[in-house]
Amino acid sequence: MAGEKITDARFRADACEAPNNQQQAESFAGNLKYGLTGVFFGIVFVKAEIVSWFRIQEMFRLDSFHMYGVIGTAVATAAISVYLIKIFRIRTFSGEEVVFPRKTFHRGHVYGSLLFGLGWALTGACPGPLFAQIGAGFHAVLVTLLSAVAGTWLYGYFRGKLPH
């Protein structure tokens, strides 16, 4: 809300939750490499059918191991990678120290997550897969995406009044 003053670092307005911690600025060409990573990621999403509404239904009906296998393996792979980066103090390609942001608990982690879960069951998608579903030819999902942008905007608007 206009005029709100939040100094608490937990939900400061400028604290991006998936931040760019690189000190050096990215050029347009530099950003293209994230675009390429995204292309690769989108292919994985569709080829492993993670963006399939049916796969999400199977997961929530406990009828298939597929999604649990994907998420479990992804977490394990990412956790081992993060651990290796930490103990070997591996630096980024441009030589900077890797930054691992810490998260501080607030009640939104419960309320917001429950709401997102409901939406996940309805749409069969998290924010990332929405883009892949559109690319895969489900053009009506553009409505879902715009609606998700609207939902994000509404959160921003009412943020000062929501319990955190």
Partner: protein, 188 residues
């Protein structure tokens, strides 16, 4: 090669590749993997409306928009060049349950009777596209992240708020599937 890649990929291949995105983004340029932030950057870039939450240097975070743009292109490639000839295999029990609820189409990645363009202006479209989208957008931002930011990046970095978020995603998903879906199908 193309033929090999065209088959649906098993979960362990997908899981490893998705997991590797976390170190890839960190090492490419100190970027934290999280996709729902793209929605916030779109708000900040297009409709900031003087709201403090959207007043930040979104251009600095624009790598995230390149990333989701790439995902869309990846979706196109996966369904054209690398298109699979076989339909999505659905577990019999899930299929039966969905048939009983009223889902009709089981031929693609998503049921076209719910997510086809013809449903946009219907009551079904309102629930599955509009309401679903609102919950995804509002919920993820309120939660400070989604499956990628919390369940993958956050858990991999041993952040306990991310564990709570992940548990609540699942509770919400189970409630959505077992309580909300039947109610919606009764209405539409």
């Amino acid at each position: 090669m193309i033929q090999f890649l065209s088959q649906p990929w098993p979960w362990y291949v997908a899981g490893v590749l998705i997991g590797l995105t976390v170190p890839a983004l960190l090492l490419l340029g100190n970027k934290v993997f999280g996709l729902s932030s793209s929605l916030r950057h779109i708000c900040a870039a297009c409709f900031p409306a003087g709201i403090p939450f959207f007043r930040y240097d979104w251009k600095r975070e624009s790598w995230n928009l390149f990333f989701v743009g790439g995902i869309l292109i990846g979706g196109i490639i996966a369904t054209t060049t690398l298109a699979s000839q076989s339909p999505v295999l659905i577990e019999e029990s899930t299929r039966n349950a969905l048939e009983q609820l009223g889902v009709r189409d089981f031929s693609g990645l998503m049921p076209s009777d719910l997510f086809g363009t013809s449903s946009v202006l219907t009551l079904k479209g309102f629930f599955f596209l509009v309401l679903g989208g609102l919950l995804v957008g509002f919920g993820t931002r309120y939660a400070g992240g989604c499956t990628s930011g919390h369940s993958i990046s956050g858990l991999a970095n041993l952040q306990w708020p991310s564990l709570i978020a992940t548990i609540c995603f699942m509770i919400g998903g189970f409630a959505g599937t077992w309580i909300l879906l039947p109610l919606i199908f009764k209405t539409v």
